[in-house]
Symmetry: C2
Subunit: 347 residues, 2 copies
DNA sequence: TTGAAAGCGCTAACAT
DNA sequence: ATGTTAGCGCTTTCAA
């Protein structure tokens, strides 16, 4: 039998208003009564009806804020697309999304963006932000105060939050190693081009990569590890230099963005037999895979990430979720020429 | 500005009841009035509010039927899981799913299953069924009569329907070929083990496979093509026989189910250097990839297929969708050891 | 053929 | 501190 506010109120011997106050911690209710209602709600398995909620609160939408370091970064556009899809889908259930786009990964900028989202009345936040102690502290503080926090695309260590929605970077790295093991039998001399040693995801991609190479007993050495800071120009320069200095390199592992820059260096150097691999499906990487410069990319379904982060946050605010919410980890998708050049799937 | 039944009624100078009658073709309305309302609805861009609909029609849920040839077939269990997820998620919006499970691919059995679903009052059908003219005819007939039809996992040729939700088998086959091109440089002597020449999906997997081998100028020949009828026992027997007869075979392409049977034959034959590849992530294929008997499988996200088929059907019945609905094609996912043995993603 | 009104589950404003 | 009520958008029933 379905449990409604009405039936709950009846069971507890109080009015619907009181039940509402208890369930949403608003207004004053005698402690004893509150306890009774809460207990009963759990026992009877009360789950609020989204339709009812949406209809009633039509004029007070559920505002969800999203922070994206997307300015000048094509990758995040796909996450934003997913955010928009969720916004459209849940609009008639009372969802409203406030998107805050910033440039780069400056801690202070991100903290201020969060403040501005809160000032606009957001009851939940989806954050793609930096992995620093100050951010972690702020996130914990907000979470403990009751704000729903979803970490999006890139996790922040040591935080309490609703959940993380994004890629499993360790598996992504391991998958690259596994593909390498499948494709090459000769000894590997590897150049690693990372984005930044400060970005958790990039580090995990390298860690997972090495771990899997070791697990499969691949014969390899890391010739060098260089940073591109996700700048194509820098990536090209630094990659080209190392390639020239180390002609034995036969594999380039691009752990960060700036795949385009590395590709240019490979072309400039005329490296035919270098097995290059990278991440994410963007215009640039698609071109490079098509041309055979990069053999494959490992992708993380950014659009789904955006969609599900918003969805999770909405569900949490609407009271649809239980106490413990699992992380949402997107698939680790290998794209070679054959499945990259064909049409893109839904959502 | 948001358009409601109320505002529409006002604009058309009629009552809400009349608008409802027009929009749902129920009850008698003067032709002239109906035309006016319909035109206005389109002009103003009226989209029904799910919340309102769900609440009002609480006692007449949207019944959606699903037909699955899942009896004794592990693969379909994952699709069913997706169906269940959708059912739970949309329950409070008035969705009710009626699942009809049948055994095998007998045309008559499937036709009768469809009848039984309709008899139960289903306003939409999600069908995983056989690709035969009689089914196509029935589907077209139902579609033209206004029943929402979603074809699920396996398409039926020459049909009118809302959309297809499932894998792109051509791309899946091509992806196998692409991986082969990446992993092997020697001449390929290929044995193809298909499920049935009558199943569209299996044929397309073979077609896509060959096309991509040709496109990439791979040096290969097809030693033989045998049918397993998706039976592991038969697959083992027939595969073993061919392997014994043709020691030059260095690649086995398993286009149908019964991967387990082929695996057994490979083990029995002691084929170390045979590069075997197959489809779908199941208990059996996971074991075989882990053991290195099969190098990778190409997967099609069956859980998402079930989920989205139901979702699409629900949206269509609830009037959320426009006139033309695109197919929902799931990702073509390569799973090697490294990304197979790790945790499974959400939804 | 059309209009009017009740009520679905919930929240917010008002009343006690 | 608690109860009562109006109303969100829609469907359905009853009345005209």
């Amino acid at each position: 039998m379905k449990v409604t506010v009405k039936s709950l109120a009846q069971a507890a011997g109080v009015s619907r208003g009181t039940v509402d106050r208890v369930l949403h911690n608003r207004g004053a209710v005698k402690d004893e009564v509150a306890k009774r209602v809460r207990l009963l709600a759990k026992e009877l398995g009360y789950v609020p009806n989204r339709a009812g909620r949406a209809l009633a609160a039509y004029k007070t939408p559920i505002k969800i804020g999203a922070l994206m370091p997307s300015v000048g970064n094509a990758f995040y556009q796909e996450i934003i697309q997913g955010i928009n899809e969720a916004q459209n889908e849940f609009a008639d259930l009372g969802l409203e999304v406030v998107l805050k786009e910033v440039e780069g990964f400056d801690e202070q900028v991100h903290l201020e963006a969060i403040d501005s989202l809160l000032k606009k009345g957001c009851r939940a936040l989806c954050l793609a932000t930096v992995n620093t102690p100050r951010l972690a502290e702020r996130i914990n503080e907000l979470h403990d105060r009751g704000t729903v926090i979803v970490l999006l695309n890139t996790d922040v260590e040591n935080t309490r939050r609703l959940c993380y929605v994004g890629s499993d970077y360790l598996t992504a790295g391991a998958t690259c190693a596994g593909m390498l093991a499948l494709a090459r039998q000769d000894k590997l001399h590897i150049l690693i081009v990372t984005g930044s040693r400060l970005l958790l995801g990039h580090n995990l991609r390298i860690k997972g990569f090495k771990e899997e190479l070791d697990r499969q007993n691949i014969d390899y050495d890391i010739v060098d590890t260089v940073e591109s800071f996700d700048s194509d120009i820098r990536a090209q320069q630094v990659t080209y230099k190392v390639l020239k200095a180390h002609s034995e390199i036969n594999c380039v592992y691009i752990a960060g963005a700036a795949v385009q820059g590395v590709g240019s260096a490979l072309i400039a150097n005329g490296s035919k037999d270098v097995f290059a691999i990278g991440f994410d499906e963007l215009y640039s990487t698609r071109q490079l895979v098509s041309a055979g410069i990069i053999k494959f990319v490992v992708c993380q379904q950014p659009t789904r990430q955006g969609y599900h982060a918003i969805k999770r946050a909405y569900q949490a605010v609407a009271g649809q979720l239980g106490d413990s919410v699992p992380d949402f980890i997107t698939d680790t998708i290998i794209k070679i020429k054959a499945n990259l050049e064909r049409t893109v799937p839904g959502r």
